[in-house]
Subunit: 502 residues, 2 copies
């Protein structure tokens, strides 16, 4: 159900911040009281009213409830600039040096590799200075532009792999690491699931200690970060539980999905994921409460304040609380289902992709892919939220979200193309039954919530009106004005209230 | 010298239009008089005051003199949207079809080629919907995003070529067209330069008719477009004449630079280029005078009006008159010299690149490169102008300008790397002398104009003041306040006048 919207006043800034930041160059002559830190809400008085940038007043109205207040003195120093001309000059110098002063070796394979790496580096140079900014600006917009470009390169790499034959694709990995392109040895999974193993006299709990490996902190950290991405307790828990169900359902395909029941539910869902989500939610609470006051480093008088300011550079510029409200209307419901589906698909891809491309689980490319998704997923999720939350304004699905969706699909297509046999292994009858039951339940709920319930409510409303005999057709109930308009009318309702207040 | 700035009132819009256009969705309820056409300045009354978008008021102040007035009723239809989700869906379907339903042939070379082409196509799909918008929006922002992506692909291709050995690079062209990668036959140029050839009795003017080939309209069209790019008569003429000098100077390296004297000066500079520049200037005059009134197609009542509106979709959204003002300060002077230098380098690259890569002059790749530059050069020039005109605001050199500069440099590096012998052929003594003389003249003028003259003027001013005995130090002469500040103080002067007026 839709949560009640909290009402906040003050200056609100959000998406498109980088553009707005860059606009505030000449705003910076503000009389900030010299108390130093960037934390005391009393010091940065409402005299600092930065321009709200491109988004303007509409943004203020439509995002007020989920966005934090931001105060920015608009300092725009050397640090913030994109240095387009400098980068171009350095790039030119590097090209002159490498191509004219170094001798080109007569090794076609080496040169081809070098040419491709050079192309990628030039693309990154271009992208880091010139690519479109996303929603995040901390610690520096260039950081997010860099990951944006990496996303493009990764997607193009996947597309290339997708168009090769299975054999060529696997052998192609040899160009990246000569140790790759070799079939993985079959591994033995499962085994003894006794928590207390009486057969082992020296340490009867050895099964538990065996499972307490590096994956425990990895799971914890992973879910901590995922919580920061999704910013919703319910969605995190659903994805966490669903993934264990998927592991159960797919252990006939990938043997390393088979775990003991207590490994699935106690160690994964409760301990690792649960703790990660809990800590993530605590951090989210802090992030949504913490004051967002950005002073230029040179405007801060004390050293302590300066150091604090530098540390806070690595926290977000502003904060948007995600209120997914999946039940508020059909569109949002489908979108949230789609997000959960894509999220789970991306998680499964991690395992299937390394399986079909013959990547050992401990290979650095696997780790790099995860680091990549950590950096990219948050931006994508925020862009999807923006797209869902205000489709009129954010008419475009954000670039990072677009690419992450394309990457997830491409990875899945690679899996299907490279190992159709594994994917097509018949699912056990019991598992099929469970899934069909689950899907039927979801469909029934969808049907009831967005079609039958609305019709019933509307019918009741009509009857009530007839009985009352009033002709006041304009004031319908929040949920009574049809399926698609439900959420919108709610929003309009709260908005008009807010307008009257201000 | 700085031209006097004309003062215009009214709503001014310019760079960053696309963003502003997309913002105007909900602006569209304007009461436009139903006279149909988009030409009558009286019809679209000043009731239509669109948001000036991201640029805001600063833009209005700083660009007022060179920008036209724009009226836009803010209609934002299906046509204008980026269709991010639609494109993503179609892309996914295409990938599913090609990779899962078609069988992959067992030909590694073919698959590699296909993989690269597919990667480029996916990149274009991404870029056309998601790349950063440039300054132009007509006929559609996606058109300019497309060329932006093509620029990236071309630059990466050049980088790749640059890192190959000379032999491999030339043979690599075979992958694009199997007919390439073959040494060009030596050609015989020059010859008989008599305008009236008494030796040929049937047609003594045959030398002239011989020169009247396809290059005449090509030169004309080329210079027409270049004039629209540069938007300044003087700069066009300088570049046109300079190029003929370059042809003279370099005919010992590339034999096809050697032409008869009347071919150089009469047919090229006067007839083809001159006529092209003349027509270009006429078009520029029309473009800077024509009213920029954009009504949504459905808001126009008459058929004639609709057809006119569709035709006008292919004219610019707004118009910025370029006032390069090279003599106003040292920074602008160096920038204009740099632009002319890069422009000439890009022109020379056309000839040298096809020479070193063994491309026959009539090959379609040569033509495609020219079409590419026509589409990309205009954007780049506008971005450079914006960067020069208001460096505070446009702190970033535009993406297209950045890439075109990188491409020009990379092309030149390819030429140097692939054929150092031709480039290093000793320049004839007479030519060297001329160039040294020219460079000395330019340096002297620079020194006089931006250093000596300023010091003299300041000295005279100081003496005058002393004689007058007034302490009014604030009101200095326009050119008297130092080298770098000259233009700025002028601008500030006119701005303050304008402020006082409004």
């Amino acid at each position: 159900m839709a949560k009640p919207e909290s009402k906040k006043s003050g200056v609100v800034l959000g998406a498109g911040r980088s553009a707005a930041v860059e606009e505030q160059v000449n705003n910076g002559s503000l009389d900030l009281s010299p108390s130093g830190g960037a934390h005391d809400p009393a010091t940065a008085a409402p005299t600092t009213k930065p321009k709200s940038g491109k988004q303007g007043s509409r943004e203020n109205v439509s995002r007020r409830s989920t966005e934090c207040e931001v105060f920015d003195d608009g300092t725009n120093t050397f640090f913030w600039r994109a240095h387009t001309v400098t980068v171009l000059f350095i790039l030119t110098c590097a090209l002159v040096y490498v191509t004219l002063l170094e001798e080109t070796p007569h090794d076609t394979a080496y040169n081809t590799k070098r040419g491709i790496v050079a192309s990628i580096l030039v693309f990154l140079c271009f992208g880091v200075t010139q690519a479109k900014d996303g929603p995040f600006t901390r610690p520096h917009p260039a950081y997010w532009r860099f990951w944006m470009c990496v996303t493009v390169v990764y997607e193009l790499f996947l597309i290339f792999i997708l168009f090769q034959t299975v054999h060529d694709g696997r052998q192609f990995m040899k160009y990246i690491d000569p140790k790759l392109g070799v079939a993985l040895p079959e591994r033995d999974y499962g085994g003894n699931c006794l928590i207390y193993d009486p057969g082992n006299t020296t340490d009867p709990y050895h099964n538990i200690w065996d499972k307490l490996d590096g994956f425990v902190p990895a799971h914890f950290l992973g879910w901590y970060i995922k919580t920061l991405m999704i910013r919703d307790w319910w969605m995190c828990m659903i994805i966490s539980v669903m993934f264990e169900f998927l592991e159960y359902s797919l252990e006939h395909q990938l043997p390393n999905f088979s775990e003991c029941w207590w490994d699935h539910w106690i160690m994964d869902v409760l301990v690792c994921n649960g703790l990660g989500i809990y800590c993530g939610m605590k951090t989210l609470g802090w992030l949504s409460m913490k004051p967002y006051q950005w002073q230029g480093l040179w405007n801060i008088p004390t050293y302590k304040g300066k150091i604090k300011r530098i540390a806070f550079q690595f926290t977000p510029y502003s904060w948007v609380k995600f209120e997914w409200k999946p039940a508020s209307n059909l569109r949002r419901w489908l979108a949230v289902c789609g997000i959960i589906f894509m999220f789970l698909l991306a998680e499964l891809n991690t395992f299937y992709l390394k399986f079909v491309l013959w990547m050992p689980p401990e290979h650095y490319l696997v780790l790099m892919r995860l680091i990549f998704f950590v950096n990219v997923g948050g931006v994508a999720m925020r862009e999807i939220y923006d797209f869902m939350d205000d489709p009129k304004f954010h008419k475009k699905l954000g670039q990072q979200a677009w690419l992450v969706a394309a990457i997830t699909v491409t990875e899945f297509l690679i899996v299907v193309k490279y190992d159709p046999n594994t994917i097509m292994l018949p699912i056990p009858f019991f598992v099929t039954q469970c899934w069909i039951l689950g899907i039927i339940l979801i469909l029934t709920w969808t049907l009831w919530r967005f079609f039958i319930r609305d019709i019933t409510l509307r019918y009741k409303e009509t009857r009530r009106r007839k009985q009352e005999g009033t002709g006041d057709w304009d004031r319908t109930l929040g949920n009574g004005s049809g399926t698609a308009a439900t959420g919108r009318s709610k929003l309009n309702g709260t908005e008009s209230v807010r307008h009257r207040k201000s």
